[in-house]
């Protein structure tokens, strides 16, 4: 520090020269800074999903074997995916609820594909802290509203997988998917 001050005093007369010299030093340091920042890019981007992980970002599910009232767990992006064949009773129960009374107001229609109201496809990840709720397997606890129940912190989901009771803030997420035929969907 002190030496720089001395140096500046020594050449204070040649104002022009000083400015040019300072400019070169500043330019050199700035270039070093830019270079340092550029190096950060590969160091940061390497943590993003790699090409092989991204390539497995879609999942096909065959619906033909799922009978009414049954649900299965598939895997989508390394997370559980709930595929549920709703019964008429379950659909009626879901429709009977006034969305305005819900924490995350949505109707069943908004959560299924038009004309395929019996197929409820959601992520099996509780929106509270990410546990896998029960209710998709045979004989599992479906909670007070007949949908899914998360045992970690006691969140209850209804037959449209909407949050009804407990700490979870949102309904179970509906991923993007399309019907590739009457009995098959492509998720992602």
């Amino acid at each position: 520090m002190a030496t720089e001050v001395q140096g500046t005093e020594a050449v204070a007369h040649e104002d022009e020269g000083v400015r040019r010299r300072d400019f070169i030093n500043i330019a050199a340091v700035s270039f070093a800074g830019v270079g340092g920042l550029a190096v950060l890019y590969p160091l940061i981007t390497q943590m993003n999903p790699s090409a092989d992980v991204l390539a497995q970002a879609t999942t096909e599910v065959d619906l033909s074997a799922i009978t009414e009232g049954q649900s299965i767990k598939a895997v989508f992006r390394s997370q559980p995916l709930f595929v549920r064949h709703l019964t008429a009773k379950e659909i009626a129960e879901a429709d009977a609820v006034d969305p305005a009374t819900l924490r995350d107001p949505q109707t069943l229609e908004q959560r299924v594909v038009d004309g395929k109201k019996q197929w409820l496809i959601t992520m099996g990840v509780c929106t509270h802290l990410g546990c896998v709720p029960l209710g998709a397997g045979e004989g599992e606890n479906k909670g007070e509203f007949g949908g899914y129940f998360c045992p970690c912190h006691g969140s209850h989901y209804d037959t449209a997988a909407r949050i009804r009771k407990g700490p979870a803030p949102k309904n179970l997420v509906v991923p993007e998917y399309t019907f590739t035929s009457d009995t098959a969907i492509l998720v992602g």
Partner: protein
């Protein structure tokens, strides 16, 4: 004391080495090592003017596709490409649908979802090229005791890889008469093929590219001569070994330009700061 002991150690090692040298030199002069047939007849790869040579080189997409075709129709009968995923074929200029079709045409190992038994299913782009043989024992059994190596990294696993593959594919010939005269014991064995570009001159693989038109190239492509097919498949194997080469070279040019400017600035700044200081 340190110097004395050190000198003793030094004299001991230097003395042993000089003795070994004398011993070796006497042996070398009295019975010079016989020239080996590999020394005399092994040839270095022929140089090809690849499109990917040099700091600005790029792959020729059409050539890579032709090379892939040669691999598929000829090499893939025995050689796997296990590090390469179908999805990366998009880099050769294939569309998504074409990549899907290529993957679907191959059976990849999986587990039967109903019985849990080993089974196969059509490939998807996320899969890698399946192995040709389930294990080395099967590979040996099917190939007269020689394992056809995986080709994914072949172009980096040999000195001067792409040139080497090209030279090997086009280098099959009958053993020179001169060789047999000089080394009568070096006659190419049963089931082996003479090739001066192969390290020990004789390899188990029969000439894979033997006739013009063995592979039918599409409209507007060069004539599928043996030489052309060998070049194409060598270029393709360079790509399988180093798929990121183009990104590497183009990043490199930008980095070098940046560093040149930064270094010149650093030099000027250095001169500047030392301007009033003799050193």
């Amino acid at each position: 004391m340190v110097r004395f002991l050190g000198a003793l150690v030094g004299l001991f090692f230097a003395g042993m080495l000089l003795l070994s040298f004398l011993w070796g030199a006497v042996a070398y002069v009295s019975a010079p090592p016989a020239e080996t047939v590999e020394h005399a007849f092994h040839e270095h790869p022929k140089k090809v003017a690849w499109s990917f040579n040099g700091p600005l080189g790029h792959y020729d997409r059409a050539q890579l596709q032709r090379g892939f075709q040669v691999y598929t129709e000829v090499c893939s009968a025995c050689h796997s490409l296990h590090q390469v995923a179908f999805r990366s074929l998009g880099d050769l200029g294939y569309s998504e649908a074409e990549v899907k079709a290529i993957a679907k045409a191959r059976q990849v190992p999986d587990v039967d979802p109903k019985t849990g038994e080993a089974a196969t299913r059509p490939g998807i782009p996320a899969d890698k090229f399946p192995l040709v043989y389930p294990n080395d024992v099967a590979a040996r059994a099917a190939n007269n005791n020689a394992i056809p190596p995986d080709l994914s990294l072949m172009a980096k696993a040999r000195h001067d890889g792409a040139n080497y593959i090209y030279s090997l594919l086009t280098g099959y010939q009958s053993q020179p008469a001169e060789l047999l005269k000089k080394f009568p014991d070096a006659k190419t064995g049963e089931g082996l093929h003479y090739n001066p570009y192969f390290a020990n001159l004789n390899l188990a693989m029969a000439p894979p590219l033997s006739a013009e038109g063995q592979v039918t190239y599409g409209e507007g492509q060069p004539k599928p001569t043996v030489d052309q097919m060998a070049q194409d498949v060598s270029a393709f194997l360079m790509w399988t070994a180093e798929p990121k080469m183009e990104a590497r070279k183009s990043t490199g040019v930008a980095v070098i330009v940046f560093l040149l400017i930064a270094t010149v600035l650093a030099y000027m700044s250095y001169q500047n700061i030392w301007a009033n200081k003799e050193h």
